[in-house]
């Protein structure tokens, strides 16, 4: 994954996990077994894992037709190079993305989409998925030269990568134009002079676009959005980390939607 192109177009390989990506820790492995988004290639467990967790791992693994291999803590550590495995380790294949068609059918009313244009840092992607789950995003779409949905992303997301619906788009511009035809307002997060989020009506059908860590949302993507959205700065630095900005914007969407719902309840 070194030396990826800087163009906003998909490079094909970027979205696929390396063969033999690792997911470790009780909660992360259990959620991976339950979620079914990654094919499990191998599963190791230490004898010292507490009975309840061990039984649950065995039950889920059996349902998937996966053997549970016994290994001591040191052998597991030798594979994943960390002490934080808690006696459970899975080697997984590539994340299976949701199809955009299926995602479109399952969004809420009003829908909330989060479109990620070439977000490349796994920490950022994980933190974004975590916020997306907590703050009610219906579908996340990754596009361009993005970080793969790896074990690293699973950990950074505190497991949310197993719950959030993630699709992949080869053509973000076409997707945005389709969403707009369907009545979804598409707003691109940009730093500098942008309308502040709290001044925008975010309670209706909405898609937020977050850009790459270095160069932001690509020009061709910006060109087809309904508008821009930003966060009011009051200090000396002009831009926020992309995961932080996504969290702040999603929080504002959630706040406005809760207010709108509460308002509806009061008037009835």
């Amino acid at each position: 994954m070194v030396g990826r192109s800087s163009s906003g177009k998909s490079s094909g390989r970027a979205g696929r996990n390396r063969p033999g990506d690792w997911i470790w820790g009780r909660r992360a492995v259990l959620e991976t077994l339950r979620g079914g988004r990654w094919p499990i290639r191998d599963l190791w467990m230490s004898e010292r894992v507490e009975t309840g967790v061990a039984e649950e791992v065995r039950r889920l693994a059996e349902a998937l037709g996966v053997d549970v291999q016994q290994a001591d803590a040191e052998a597991i550590r030798a594979r994943c190079h960390t002490d934080q495995h808690q006696g459970v380790l899975a080697r997984v294949g590539a994340y299976s993305f949701w199809s955009l068609e299926r995602l479109s059918e399952e969004v809420d009313d009003p829908p909330l989409w989060l479109l990620l244009d070439a977000v490349q840092d796994p920490h950022n992607l994980g933190a974004i998925l975590r916020s997306a789950e907590i703050l009610g995003v219906d579908g996340v779409v990754v596009s361009g030269d993005h970080a793969p949905i790896s074990g690293h992303v699973v950990r950074s997301s505190a497991g949310a990568a197993n719950h959030v619906r993630i699709a992949r788009s080869e053509n973000l511009v076409a997707l945005i134009m389709r969403l707009r035809r369907e009545g979804v307002a598409v707003l691109a997060a940009t730093s500098g002079e942008s309308p502040a989020a709290r001044g925008c009506d975010l309670a209706g059908p909405l898609a937020l676009v977050m850009g790459n860590e270095g160069h932001g949302v690509a020009e061709d993507v910006l060109g087809v959005c309904d508008g821009r959205i930003g966060i009011e700065q009051s200090g000396s630095i002009e831009s926020l980390n992309v995961a932080v900005a996504a969290g702040v914007l999603l929080y504002e969407v959630d706040r406005q939607r809760r207010d709108a719902r509460d308002g509806t309840t009061c008037s009835n």
Binding site: G3, D121, I134, G136, A158, Q233, G235, S236, I237
Partner: protein, 242 residues
């Protein structure tokens, strides 16, 4: 000594404390983009800029965009301020916001929080030293200059530091999903010190006892709370609206 790979973090160090920038080492290619501005400023300030001296080992840690950096800068760590100095502006005409980070383990979170703190003009950051990630090069690079713009104090005993904050006229706010108050209802009519708990364990009982108020961020979904850097940013966003 820090080895910084984000041109924005190096630029901020040059602008605020150039004498602590020991040298900049470039790869084989001539600098472009943000590094061009960094090397131009460094040369004008008399900071050594060496070419073809990056070394293969130093290229391993990729920058925030996932790429091998063009250059590496050796920079001395920034110094803490004393705790009295951290809170010295609390008596001024305008209310402000401070942050306390209670045993944060992830340098990415610490860096992102400093970047957010600089974005919102936070007056100062308290950090714990025990069971906490150090202010490493990763934290400086993720902060993207934020660590140069916000004053900080590292303390061994957070409870004592929170008492000092209250004595200086700050109100201490904990953030927790079990909080009884809504964050959005906190007024901007006072100086706030917002305490952010560790990624795994949240706030300690002793820390909670030193809070004047504990607020929740109205979480939904299956995961109990937001990432620490996102939670800090949400709190600062709400408190920055006066």
């Amino acid at each position: 000594m820090l080895e910084l790979k984000n041109p924005h973090s190096v630029m901020a160090a040059l602008e605020t404390r150039a004498r602590d920038v020991v040298e900049i080492r470039l790869g084989d290619q001539s600098p472009h983009g943000a590094w061009q501005g960094v090397t131009d400023l460094a040369r004008s300030l008399g900071v050594p800029v060496r070419t073809g001296r990056m070394g293969s080992g130093q290229q391993k840690r990729r920058d925030q965009e996932g790429r091998t950096p063009q250059a590496v800068a050796t920079v001395r760590e920034r110094s803490d301020v004393g705790i009295d100095e951290l809170f010295s502006t609390a008596g001024g005409d305008q209310y402000g916001v401070w942050l306390a980070l209670d045993r944060l383990q992830d340098p990415h979170n610490i860096g992102a929080i400093f970047r957010t703190a600089a974005f919102y003009g936070v007056r100062g950051v308290l950090l714990t030293t025990n069971q906490s990630a150090p202010l490493s090069a990763t934290a400086y690079d993720v902060a993207s200059g934020g660590l140069e713009h916000v004053r900080f104090t590292r303390v061994g005993n957070l409870a004592r530091a929170l008492r000092a904050a209250r004595d200086a006229g700050l109100w201490v706010m904990g953030t927790s999903e079990r909080g009884e108050d809504e964050l959005s209802e906190a007024g901007s009519d006072r100086n706030w010190l917002v305490v952010i708990g560790s990624e795994e364990r949240g706030l300690r009982r002793l820390t909670l006892e030193h809070c004047d108020v504990v607020c929740r961020l109205s979480p939904r979904g299956e995961i109990a709370s937001l990432n620490a850097s996102v939670a800090a940013a949400v709190a600062l966003t709400v408190l920055s609206r006066s």
